[in-house]
């Protein structure tokens, strides 16, 4: 356990050298160097993520068409040089909509995962540090939230908040809610092992307040599981967004979303225009695949103890 707090202190001889190597940019570079060398699958995941980020950032530059403009001269065209992945029933270019869809997926996925994991972190740390009634209360609430299958609670939240054009915030909220208890549980158990460490007691003895102890001294030490879950839930959140949109309970037209593309065109025109059903699914799978691979490897690299979690 002490290793977690002070990885540098092992032998007195080269303690100083090790300490220097264990912090700052050099440690960062060394970590990623090793990551790339020893975890080819994780690196492949990272490459997929980087491609997706670049696609989203440069969507205006690389997309050949306007993602929302109708073109009634080119309805349901098959893949060709003009339209690499064909066109949909409104004549919109599928390739362009896939590119812009990465923005929706990342926006929803990242926001939901970030907010969900952060709230989970707060609940987990507060519960573990304060203990007693407050901890009991938080835990019971999290247990109840965990009693709902993921998609069911997401649908319930969407139903309550309402769906519709421009209500993307509601979709994000619906995906955030089921993430919170799952993160809170893991963070709480990590934080519990830190709460009783001597350095926490020392900090208290110096006169630090509860808030400072929780967020300056405990939270940074549960950062590894937090980061791992953030990546893992990003993939889950993207999948959930696609699922909700596919069901007609997520993002609405004209916003380009991969799940929505499968709903709108994929189903009705399956026989007539099969390309509509293939490309968006590949995009969803690659995105989730990338985050899963990267998350798994990150977990192995950062915290082997979490392997079974």
């Amino acid at each position: 356990m002490t290793e977690l707090a002070h990885p540098a202190v092992r032998g007195p001889d080269d303690a100083k050298r090790r300490y220097l190597e264990s912090t700052g940019p050099r440690r960062f570079a060394r970590f990623w160097g090793e990551f790339i060398r020893r975890r080819p699958l994780g690196t492949a995941g990272a490459v997929l993520i980087i491609i997706m980020l670049l696609t989203a950032a440069l969507a205006d530059r690389i997309a050949p068409y306007d993602p929302t403009a109708f073109n009634f001269a080119d309805l349901l065209q098959g893949p060709s040089l003009q339209h690499l992945l064909g066109t949909d029933p409104f004549g919109r270019d599928v390739f362009t909509r896939i590119i812009y869809g990465s923005r929706t997926a990342l926006l929803v996925g990242f926001t939901a995962s970030f907010v969900g994991c952060t709230l989970g972190l707060v609940f987990g740390v507060v519960g573990a540090y304060l203990g007693g009634r407050i901890d009991q209360l938080i835990q019971r609430l999290m247990d109840v939230l965990l009693s709902f299958p993921l998609i069911v609670i997401a649908i319930a939240v969407v139903a309550a908040l309402g769906t519709g054009e421009g209500k993307i915030g509601n979709v994000i909220a619906a995906i955030t809610v089921p993430i919170i208890p799952r993160v809170a549980r893991v963070v709480r158990s990590s934080a519990l092992s830190i709460v009783n460490m001597p350095y926490i007691e020392a900090t208290r003895a110096v006169g630090s307040g509860a808030v400072r102890i929780m967020f300056r001294h405990i939270a940074p030490n549960v950062f590894a599981p937090y980061l791992i879950m953030l990546t893992a839930f990003l993939g889950q959140a993207i999948l959930l967004e696609a699922t909700l949109s596919f069901l007609g309970l997520g993002v609405f037209e004209p916003t380009p979303s991969w799940g929505l593309m499968l709903r709108g065109a994929g189903m009705q025109f399956l026989e007539q225009a099969p390309w509509l059903a293939i490309a968006p699914g590949v995009a969803i799978s690659m995105a989730v695949f990338g985050f899963n691979l990267f998350g798994d490897s990150l977990r192995d690299a950062l915290d082997p103890r979490l392997r079974t979690a």
Binding site: V144, F148, I151, I155, A159, L161, L249, L270, A277, V288
Partner: protein, 315 residues
């Protein structure tokens, strides 16, 4: 043992009450209320709105609404659907067998896929067979089950000229027609469902294969297949069973989307339709039902665990 079961059973009660409270709270988080939402944008006189509110009991204080609702649940009366006007219990009753059948077939398929592949991957660890199987399972986690379903429909249309029929045939009417209709949806749910259990099977079999008693078995000249089947697999099955049952949430998620793809009129489709129609009494009932089923399944899994593993003696 008996005390443990009784204790767990008692613990389920506050959880279920918590689930009911949360469902109730979420449904009341609707901006405005359900009647206002139902008539939003249409010119309905205030008196009709007030009448309907009174009928649904929405003009009573919150706590009274909740106790009324709990009383109704205790009498198995889940109210009337706002959309169809039929009783919610009836709506669910009609569709429940289909979803249950789909769930059972999908689980069977998942186990049939996961366990053999997991064992083979473990036995052939770090060969191309292992990599191929692991890739197959990672794919199952990344691909949305509705997309797998779409691709299956697409493949059967293109290669066999067969599309899923629009009318559902019950298993009691014509088992063959029913199974031919259920196999693809069950497969698309089951594949995804199998992914986690496959990984679990692989890692537990790997662990067990390193145990002393497996080495002993090998040393005394037992053939490799007997070692794997009798000594390793048997002892590796327990955690796998847990995972299979815990992944039940996957299953429900799978049902919700797959029923949509294959146009099966089950509980999942009912939930999605209910949200689309803003049928709040129905949504409330279904969310509660699914969560309750989930809680009960988790309880049953724990009990199965105790029965299967004599080493576990809960106190």
């Amino acid at each position: 043992m008996r005390r443990y079961v009784a204790g767990r059973l008692l613990l389920m009660i506050p959880t279920l009450i918590g689930v009911a409270i949360l469902t109730f709270v979420i449904m009341r988080a609707v901006p405005g209320d359900i009647v206002a939402l139902k008539y939003a944008g249409s010119p309905v006189p205030q008196s009709i709105i007030d009448d309907e509110r009174h009928q649904l009991g929405l003009d009573k204080p919150m706590w009274e609404q909740f106790t009324d609702w709990m009383g109704e649940i205790a009498r198995f009366d889940l109210g009337t659907s706002l959309w169809t006007g039929h009783s919610v219990v009836e709506e669910i009753e009609v569709r429940f067998p289909l979803s249950l059948e789909l769930a059972i077939i999908a689980t069977l398929l998942a186990v049939l896929i996961a366990i053999p592949l997991g064992v083979v991957a473990a036995v052939k660890q770090d060969t191309w067979v292992d990599y191929a199987i692991r890739l197959f399972s990672i794919g199952g986690l990344a691909m949305p089950s509705f997309w797998i379903g779409l691709l299956m429909v697409l493949a059967t249309i293109t290669f066999f000229g067969w599309a899923p029929p629009l009318v559902f045939t019950a298993i009691t009417e014509d088992p063959i027609a029913n199974l031919s209709q259920m196999i693809l949806p069950a497969l698309s749910v089951g594949y995804r469902y199998s992914a986690v259990s496959m990984r679990m099977t692989r890692s537990t079999v790997l662990e067990v294969l390193r145990e002393d008693y497996v080495r002993t078995a090998r040393a005394k000249g037992v053939s490799e297949s007997v070692v794997v089947m009798r000594h390793a697999l048997r002892n590796a099955l327990l955690p796998v069973i847990t995972v299979v049952s815990l992944e039940f949430a996957f299953l429900i998620g799978g049902l919700v989307v797959t029923e949509q793809v294959f146009n099966l009129n089950g509980i999942g489709k009912l939930l999605v339709d209910a949200v689309a129609h803003r049928d709040y009494t129905l949504i409330q009932a279904l969310v509660l039902l699914l969560a309750a089923v989930f809680v009960i399944i988790n309880f049953v899994v724990d009990m199965v665990y105790v029965v299967l593993d004599p080493r576990i003696r809960y106190s």
